[in-house]
Amino acid sequence: MPLADRALRLTTERLTARYGSVVGIRDVSLGFTANQVHALIGPSGCGKTTFLRCLNRMHEETPGGVAEGVVRLDGDDVYAPQVDLRMLRRRVGMVFQRPTVFPTMSIQENVAAGLRFNGKLGKAEVARKVGKALEAAGLWEEVKDRLRTSPTALSGGQQQRLCIARTIAPEPEVVLLDEPTSSLDPQGTQRIEELLFQLKQRFTIIIVTHNMQQAARVSDTTSFFYLGDLVESGPTRDLFTTPKEARTEAYVTGRFG
C-alpha cells in the first residue's frame, strides 16, 4: 500500500523543544502513518530522544523541559490544556533505553501496572490482558510458570520484552521506543527486532536508534535528525539509497556520527 493511502496517526507541526534556554529540537514537522515502523536516526545529542519524548509529553517531566508547536494524535492536539496526561500516556506508550521493570512487583504485576487505572477491571480480565500482552511481546512461553516471581531474575532481553508487554497491555495506539536494544546482546536485539514486525500490525511504532543497520532492517520510514533539525524524512529504502540531502548521505554512508 502506498504511504499516502494510510491514515496519519500522529503529526507534529513546527515542534520546538527546549531545556531551559538550550534548544533541543527546532521546528520539526513530521507525520507518522498508522501501523508502520518509523525510525529516528542521527548522531548522539541531535534531538531524536527529545523529539520522541515530546510525543507523549514526557519532555516536560525533565527540569526546564518546554515544548512549543503542535502535536496531533488522531487530530487531537496533545498539548491542549484540557488534555489528561494519564489518558494521553495510555494512548502513547513508551519503552526506554534500559529495561525499567519495577523490582518490587511480580512479573504479572509489572504487566498489569498500566491497567489498574479505573480499578474496575476484574481479576480474570486483568489476567487475560496480561497473558495477551506477554504473548504479543514473545515472552509468554518463558514466564508463564513464574508469573508471580520477581522480574529481576530475568535476563536483560527478557526484561526489555517485559517492558514492551507492560507498555502494550493497555493497548495504546502509538508505541515509542527509545533505543530499546542499546543495552542488549545481539540475540536479545534480534528478538526485539522480530517483534516489531508483529507489533506494527496493531500499533504505530516510532523507534529511536543509533544503529543504522537496525533502522534499515526494521523500519518503513526513516527520519534523520542533525543538531536539533530534521534534515530529511522518507521511506527507509529511499533515505538509505538515494538521500536528497548531502548531510544525510554523509551520515548513512558512515562519514560521521
Binding site: 507523549n56 514526557m58 517531566e61 527540569p63 496526561l85 494519564r86 489518558m87 494521553l88 500516556r89 495510555r90 506508550g93 513508551m94 526506554f96 534500559r98 525499567t100 519495577f102 523490582p103 518490587t104 501496572a113 498500566g114 487505572f117 520477581s150 529481576t152 531474575a153 517492558c163 507492560r166 507498555t167 493497555p170
Partner: protein, 268 residues
Amino acid sequence: MVGVLGLCAVLAVIPLLVILATLVVKGAGSINLDFFTRLPVPAGETGGGVAHAIVGTLMIVGGACLLGLPVGIAAGIFAAEWPASRLAIASRFIADVLNGTPSIVVGVFAWTWVVARQGHFSGFAGSVALAVLMIPMVMRTTEEMIKLVPHSLREAALALGFPRWKTSLVVMVRTCLPGIVTGSLLAVARIAGETAPLLFTALGSQYMNFDLRQPMAALPLVVFTYATGPYEEWHRLAWATALVLIIVVLILSLAARFATRRRFDASR
C-alpha cells in the same frame, strides 16, 4: 601504609570492645528474671529490678515513633520529590542543623513547650523531645533512599500514565522501603539511648506507670540515677541496666542489618 590504616581500624573498635567487656563483666552477674520483672526496692535493700524503666522506655520511644516517623518519612518524600523547591532546600538545611544539635538543647525546648505549659513532667514530653531528635534523621535517610532509586523507574511509571503521587508511593517509596525501615530502626536505636532530653521531660519515676501523662522511668534515666547514687547496690543495677540498654540498641541495629540484607536478596 596498610599497617597504619589497619592499626587505626583496630584502634577504632577497641573502645567499643572495652565498653562491651566491662558491661558484661560488671553487669551480667546482676541480670536475672527479677531484674526484668520487679520494681526497685528501697535504698539499702538488695535485689529489685527495672521493669518500670523497661516499660517506660518502650512507651516513650513508642510515642516518639508515632509522632516522629510519619512526619520524618513524609518530609523525606517531599524533599526527594521536589528537590529544588525552596521548602525542600530550607528543610534539608534545618534538618542537617538539627541533626548536629546537642540533644540536651532539644530537651530544654521540649521542657518549655510541653512541661512548662502543662505544669508537670510527663512521659509524653519525653516522647516529644525524642520525636524532635528523630524527625531530621528519618527525613534525611528517607530522602537519600528515594534518591537511590533509579530515575528511570520514575519515568517508566509516569510514561505508563501513573499520576505523580502514585509514582511516588507505589514505585519510588515501595522500591526503597527496606532502606527507609533500616533508617527508621537506626533512628529508634539512636534515640532509645538518649538521656539528656529525658531529664527535663520524662524526669524518671520509681513506680510502674503506663500513663504517658505522668512522669515516667526510662532505662537511660535509671543508669544516670543509679550510677550517680551513693549505694553499691545501685551501682550494680546501673551496670546491668547499661548492659540491657546496649543490648537493645544492638538488637535494633541487627534488625536494621537484616532489613537491608533482605533488600539485596530481593533485588538479586
